[in-house]
């Protein structure tokens, strides 16, 4: 089985009965990942046994049990570290990380940042439901200010983190966003992430119908998507609306540096922002990630996708170069690298 087989979706579905709450957004993500995996294997020339899913703790983190690949459901917040150890020692594997907003940004924030800045070749799926699902409904680092939950009965006082901003500040080389229920978009970003060499992070808006129902409906519900989301495409002007009649421009006068929405018909076409996911400078991605309801459509798709050698590659190169330069290590010799003397 070392040449790449032709897989079908079924090859990736584990026997294990899926156990999320009925109606949970996690089901759609699972379905989508299982569906796109054969394509990913084909395009990245991988065999199924080389695919590994590593997760932390949370509803989302039960994901690996449902994939018929190698899987490791680890501990809360630490999946990026375990995934890094695996990838660094076994660069030939394709390592996916599944995490939640609490797992990735609360207890695990630091590991996420460091995995990203190192550019370890991991594909990180961040299921953002803006709540702690598994522990039954406390606010998370992505919950809105004022949110009333069991742990914040008078309203949360904490300003949410924007996962994309965190990823940008961490120098991530691939950053994307998708809605759990949007199959085509998901397929697209998953495939691109898989093909990217280096850390890839995808924020997926996922509805927790039990503890935070309809959190994303204002833009993610089918009926709202056209008016309230914009799908970014590299090299294309950023437009949205039923007939792509609206567009985004950037104002950059005296200290201001901000996007605004225009009617495409009213402006010079060239003033409309053209998306560049490969810009070496992350400021554009930063600005786009700032756009939010209600003034702006919520941007989806790939924000950033730049080339930079991955940590696992570089580490491997150090080994190769060291062997070339110094010869394969000989411990008998190494033990004698200090002064030695002989007793007879």
């Amino acid at each position: 089985m070392s040449e790449v087989a032709e897989y079908t979706r079924k090859d990736f579905a584990a026997e294990q009965e899926v156990r999320w709450c009925p109606g949970c957004g996690d089901y759609s993500i699972l379905a989508q990942v299982q569906r796109v995996m054969p394509e990913i294997c084909a395009e990245t020339n991988q065999t199924k046994e080389n695919i590994v899913f590593i997760s932390g703790i949370g509803c989302s983190s039960r994901f690996p049990y449902y994939m018929n690949t190698f899987g490791f459901h680890t501990i809360h917040g630490r999946a990026p570290t375990i995934a890094s150890g695996l990838k660094l020692s076994r660069p030939e594997l394709q390592v996916w990380v599944v995490t939640g907003d609490g797992d990735a940004l609360s207890i695990g924030g630091n590991h996420l940042i460091h995995a990203l800045r190192r550019n370890v070749d991991l594909k990180i799926l961040l299921f953002n439901n803006r709540i702690y699902g598994l522990t039954k409904g406390q606010y998370s680092p992505t919950s809105e200010v004022g949110k009333k939950t069991k742990s914040s009965p008078l309203g949360s006082l904490e300003r949410p983190l924007n996962p994309l901003h965190v990823a940008i500040a961490s120098e991530a080389t691939f950053i994307a966003r998708a809605i759990a229920t949007e199959g085509t978009q998901m397929r697209d970003v998953l495939l691109q992430a898989a093909k990217h060499k280096g850390s890839a992070i995808i924020e997926i808006f996922q509805n927790c119908n039990v503890f935070n129902d309809a959190a994303f409906d204002a833009f993610a519900a089918k009926k709202n998507q056209t008016e309230h989301t914009v799908f970014l495409r590299h090299g294309e002007p950023v437009k949205f609306g039923k007939d792509n009649e609206k567009g985004i421009c950037i104002r950059s006068e005296h200290g201001a540096l901000e996007p605004y929405v225009v009617n495409v018909a009213d402006v010079d076409q060239s003033s409309i922002l053209v998306h560049d996911e490969q810009s070496p400078n992350a400021a554009l991605a930063y600005l786009l990630a700032q756009m939010d309801m209600p003034e702006f459509p919520v941007p989806l798709g790939v924000f950033r996708n730049i080339k930079r050698p991955s940590y696992d590659e570089l580490l491997d190169q150090q080994v190769v170069t060291a062997i070339k330069d110094r010869g394969a290590g000989d411990l008998n010799e190494h033990m004698r690298s200090a002064e030695t003397w002989t007793v007879s």
Partner: protein, 636 residues
């Protein structure tokens, strides 16, 4: 020259009034002390190497200040290096130096109390300015207020003569000042009749490449010191120490951290799996990271993680992938790793955690030694979460136990603690270099999917270990994790009986490792009045103390635990053969507690928590106290 335990001739005392020529003594304990900027560690290391090289047994004890360089000349800034070199098999760096070199008043103040009565004291006259003495907290000149009257004091103008010696070189003033450690070494070489050529070679090696210009001036300083001592004839006696009778072979001086790093590489060779080391720097474990980072050409991969939790996670990830997953740290770092170690226990992955123990609790005394993390290793996690624990007994033994740690980890598919400590890590001894090709191979099958499905939690009948099925194995895809697993299948299970079964299985894997570890060996008679039982870096002091007491006719033996969980199979039997048992530990009685709980034996403890290793005499005195009480009891 040392009188530890009183069995050797106290040469200094007996010959201090003597004339020229050499006095032959059995061993000499010398301590070099100065400011952290004075190069005492280098001087000590060079003289140690040289001592070993000319045929002595050696044992060393570096002692340096807390991490930051304190202001020059102050007490916290004092750094020292003690060496015991001898013509017989020694075990410790010695209790009290026979010779103390103190390059400034602060070094004198900190170290004088340890110098043996009548010992040789070499001072740097030039460093006793009023300001210097004030910095060291002296209100009167110690050389004049009588406090040095019990010693043989040699107050030499070290700085000035040395500066004069290197005057005609291109050195800056600062560089010139730095050569005075070599000048001092020259004096010491004269005192102990050491030829300078080997040391000169070493100087050339140290000052090579960009620093090559410094080699000659340092050699100049070395020779100047030697000649100065020869010329002024300040010393009443010169001493020689005979050669030790070591087993034949090729030797090197080895520190514990170096041996640890090499041992883990040896484990990787013996087991045939690549070594992956993830660590977050922490004193006194950082050197393991530094050593292993140099070994990319061995295929060794190292990662400096963002914290200790990440380092543990990376090691687990590597173990999951089939590498030897290793993480190293000191006590506070182990505290942070403990949740992750629990994951490795449930996931049944072979991972080694090296803990170079230091003074605690909390940040504690980062540069000092202690053995107070034993219970943390054995019981310091949530749930019933067993781990195998091994502990090296000498710096060189770190090599062996590093190999053992991984051998047990992969055999039983469970995490193993390797408990070193600051004393072992930085101390050194002559080490008979093994032939790596002769190290026993450990053959761990890595299942392939070719012969059909193997459930991930199926069991090896002998070890109860689960198979090490790694990602990439076609047909054996499976999912594991930290939730309780069903035996054999490895599926998540909330079943009550299965949980109990698995809990006991994890413990019985660890307990069952007793079949893979050697029995305790007793040093001395197999039975008797008193057994001194130690673990870790206390071996030397215990042996020495027991030998001394035996020489005086006491019925005392000793034995040493290098495996702490499980205990060797014959432990109960050994304990049962002695009327009393003493457990000396650098903690408040952690091993003692484990032994009492397990064997219900009324063990006595000798406990020291001072950031310093035991002195032989402390253990010896305790032995006499216990045995004389018995004598009295029996008599009374």
């Amino acid at each position: 020259m040392s009188s530890d335990g009183g069995v050797q001739t106290d040469a200094v005392n007996s010959s201090s009034g003597g004339g020229d020529g050499f006095t032959e003594v059995d061993n000499v304990i010398i301590r070099f002390a100065g400011d952290s900027g004075d190069g005492m560690q280098v001087t000590g290391a060079m003289f140690s190497d040289n001592s070993a090289f000319v045929g002595h047994d050696i044992s060393t004890l570096p002692d340096f200040p807390a991490e930051i360089r304190a202001p020059a000349g102050t007490l916290p800034g004092v750094s020292s290096f003690q060496l015991n070199f001898s013509s017989f098999d020694i075990h410790t760096p010695g209790d009290q130096p026979d010779v103390l070199v103190a390059l400034n008043p602060a070094a004198l103040k900190v170290n004088l109390r340890d110098l043996k009565p009548g010992g040789v004291l070499i001072l740097n006259q030039d460093a006793f300015k009023d300001m210097d003495m004030k910095k060291a907290g002296y209100t009167e000149d110690p050389r004049e207020d009588g406090s040095l009257s019990g010693y043989q004091v040699f107050d030499l103008p070290i700085t000035s003569v040395c500066l004069a010696a290197v005057e005609n070189t291109d050195l800056t003033k600062k560089q010139a000042m730095l050569t005075k450690n070599m000048f001092t070494l020259g004096i010491v070489c004269w005192l102990f009749d050491r030829p300078l050529d080997l040391i000169e070679k070493r100087i050339e090696k140290v000052f090579s490449g960009r620093k090559a210009a410094l080699a000659d001036p340092n050699k100049l300083a070395l020779n100047a010191g030697f000649n100065f001592a020869d010329t002024i004839e300040a010393f009443a006696s010169r001493y020689t120490v005979g050669k030790v009778d070591l087993p034949p072979g090729e030797y090197r001086r080895m520190t514990g951290n170096e041996a640890t790093a090499m041992g883990f590489v040896a484990a990787s060779i013996a087991i045939g799996r690549p070594l992956f080391y993830a660590s977050y720097p922490i004193t006194p474990a950082s050197d393991i990271l530094h050593e292993l980072s140099k070994l990319r050409h061995f295929g060794v991969k190292t990662a400096q993680a963002e914290d200790e939790i990440a380092a543990a996670g990376m090691a687990i990830g590597a173990a999951y992938g089939g590498a030897l997953g290793l993480t190293g740290t000191s006590g506070p770092g182990v505290a942070l790793k403990s949740e992750a170690i629990g994951l490795a226990v449930v996931a049944e992955l072979p991972m080694v955690i090296a803990n170079v123990q230091r003074g605690g609790p909390s940040t504690g005394l980062p540069t000092k030694t202690e053995q107070a993390d034993l219970l943390q290793a054995i019981t310091g996690r949530n749930g019933e979460c067993p781990a195998i624990v091994v502990a090296p007994a000498t710096p060189g033994d770190c090599f062996n136990m590093a190999v053992e740690a991984f051998r047990l980890a992969v055999t039983y598919m469970t995490p193993v603690f390797f408990l070193s400590d600051g004393y072992l890590a930085n101390g050194s001894e002559p080490w008979l270099i093994p032939d790596i090709n002769k190290i026993e191979k450990t053959d761990i099958p890595m299942p392939s999917g070719e012969n059909g499905y193997i459930p991930p939690y199926s069991r090896d009948p002998k070890t109860q270990a689960r198979p090490w099925i790694v990602p990439g194995t076609a047909g054996l895809e499976h999912q594991i994790g930290g939730l309780e697993k069903e035996n054999i299948t490895g599926k998540v299970s909330y079943d009550a009986e299965n949980h109990e079964l698995m809990t006991k299985l994890r413990v019985s894997k660890v307990d069952g490792a007793v079949q893979s570890i050697p029995d305790l060996e007793v040093h001395g008679d197999e039975e008797g009045d008193l057994l001194v039982l130690g673990w870790g870096g206390t071996l030397g002091a215990i042996r020495h103390a027991v030998d001394n007491a035996r020489a005086k006719g006491y019925s005392v033996s000793c034995t040493h635990l290098r495996y702490l969980n499980p205990f060797p199979g014959n432990t109960a039997e050994v304990l049962g053969k002695f009327k009393q048992v003493l457990v000396p530990e650098l903690n408040l009685g952690q091993l003692r507690m484990l032994l009492r709980a397990k064997y219900l034996v009324d063990i006595e403890g000798l406990n020291k928590v001072q950031g310093q290793p035991f002195k032989t005499v402390e253990i010896e005195n305790k032995i006499y106290e216990m045995l004389e009480q018995t004598v009295r009891k029996v008599a009374g």
